[in-house]
């Protein structure tokens, strides 16, 4: 402070010169007591004034998280559901009576459907098979399945409905033909 070096401290406490020097340090960095009380009062008020904002932020975050979780669950559920529906609709045995399950024409269709799935899911066999064709085959099977459901319902209402019976046979033949042609073409291109 005064240009002379300070002696090392000893056990009796700070050197009076050092204390004096410390006391001489400016006090701007420490607020005056009244200012300090004001600050403390303000700090005490901040939580009261800031709580709604914090709560709002927390609530918003909670809602965002909940929405995200709900969306994730919804997506997962719909994916599983559509997969299940696809599986069910692509299962030719689904919803068939015992008589139908013994029908050779139905069994031939079941075999053909399984052949198609095996071919379409074989990455080597289906390497050159365009996505549009795959979509078209799936769409065609779904279309015929929908028509089959309608025709079977008509036959259930009237077991003597010749048109419905003919339609069911024709639709199954057509499904089998679609799959057969698709498999042949898939292996040939």
């Amino acid at each position: 402070m005064n240009g002379r070096p300070l002696p090392p401290p000893h056990d009796s406490g700070p050197d009076p010169r050092l204390r004096a020097a410390l006391d001489a340090l400016p006090r701007e960095r420490t607020p005056p007591p009244d200012k300090w009380e004001q600050i403390r009062g303000t700090l005490a008020m901040v939580p009261r004034d800031g709580a709604p904002a914090v709560r709002r932020r927390r609530t918003r975050m909670q809602w965002t998280a909940l929405t995200a979780i709900a969306a994730t669950l919804l997506i997962a559920f719909s994916a599983l559901a559509s997969r299940g529906i696809r599986r069910a609709s692509s299962d030719p045995l689904a919803g068939l009576s015992e008589d139908e399950r013994r029908d050779p024409r139905v069994l031939a269709l079941v075999a053909q459907t399984r052949n198609w799935h095996a071919a379409a899911n074989d990455s080597l066999r289906s390497a050159r098979w365009p996505a549009a064709a795959r979509v078209a085959v799936d769409g065609a099977i779904e279309s015929t399945n929908r028509a089959l459901v309608t025709a079977r319902a008509a036959l259930a209402r009237d077991p003597n409905d010749v048109t419905a019976r003919e339609a069911i046979d024709a639709l199954r033949d057509q499904q089998r033909a679609i799959l057969q042609h698709a498999i042949t073409l898939l292996d040939d291109i």
Partner: protein
């Protein structure tokens, strides 16, 4: 070393997008030729020479292949296109028996006189000319056939079938694709569709017949005023409608709705129309949910 450089120089353009390619083989006038086109566009044209020529540009990732004997050849493009577009022109003897297989390539066939068999997964197919027999199929593409041929088999699932020309016997099949037949005259025709709309218009040959089966597709039939036909129509959960004029309907226009029988939810009509005394080709329509409409073509 020089040989290696020469091989590289000749081989590299075959894989480069945009580089024109050209290869040829000797072939007998009735050779069996099988052509492959994975993507892009393919035109197959008959010519009067005893050779097969393939030329065009290849997409990146595809390459030419080909070989065989004078009586049997297999050629085309192979590989998977990663960029660009393949465009091929294949010339074959006009009398060659041609089989074409396409992935997504659009196929056009012109000037062939023997059998034609086109199978495409997703490409459109266009066949024209005077030919012995045509088999055409596209799983998802449209088919446009305008030929003079004894027999035609055309099949699609979601694409459109547009058939014209002079065909003695035709089998047309779709699932949801619309089917239009305007052959002159109409020979023996069988149409099967699930939900596709069917439109058949024109004169039926004296030895011809029309047999249409739909599930939900609408069926529109239109014949000339002097066309005789033995109608056998049945629409379950559907309807029969239309007005026939001229000699088809008798002296006054015939409203088919008023003469069709209704039993429960089924409408049916069995009636001979047109001039009496001549042959009346059978016209049979069965639909589960569709509508059947008949009309007389304007003179």
């Amino acid at each position: 070393m020089l040989t290696t450089i020469a091989m590289w120089a000749t081989a590299t353009p075959a894989r480069a997008q945009g580089a024109a390619q050209r290869r040829g083989w000797r072939a007998s006038p009735t050779a069996a030729v099988k052509i492959h086109a994975p993507s892009g566009a393919l035109v197959v044209q008959g010519w009067g020479r005893d050779s097969v020529l393939i030329e065009g540009t290849l997409a990146t990732g595809e390459s030419f292949f080909g070989g065989g004997t004078v009586n049997g050849l297999k050629l085309g493009a192979e590989g998977t296109a990663t960029a660009g577009r393949t465009t091929l022109l294949v010339r074959v003897p006009a009398g060659a028996r041609v089989v074409i297989r396409s992935g997504s390539a659009d196929v056009k066939v012109i000037g062939l006189t023997a059998t034609i068999d086109v199978g495409s997964a997703a490409g459109n197919v266009d066949v024209s000319g005077d030919t012995e027999a045509v088999t055409a199929e596209s799983i998802s593409g449209d088919l446009h056939i305008a030929v003079n041929a004894p027999t035609l088999r055309a099949r699609t699932t979601g694409g459109r079938l547009d058939i014209a020309g002079r065909i003695l016997e035709a089998q047309l099949t779709s699932v949801s694709g619309a089917i239009t037949l305007s052959a002159q005259p109409i020979g023996t025709v069988r149409v099967e569709t699930v939900d596709g709309a069917v439109d058949i218009h024109g004169a039926i040959a004296k030895t011809g017949s029309i047999d249409v089966h739909t599930f939900g597709g609408t069926v529109d039939l239109a014949f000339p005023a002097d066309q005789a036909a033995a109608l056998d129509l049945r629409a379950t959960d559907g309807a029969i409608a239309g007005i026939l004029t001229g000699s088809q309907g008798g002296i006054a226009p015939l409203d088919l709705r008023s003469v069709a029988e209704r039993t429960g939810n089924t409408m049916s009509l069995s009636r001979v129309i047109g001039p009496l005394g001549g042959p009346a080709p059978p016209v049979t329509v069965r639909t589960m949910r569709g509508r059947i409409r008949l009309r007389t073509l304007p003179r």
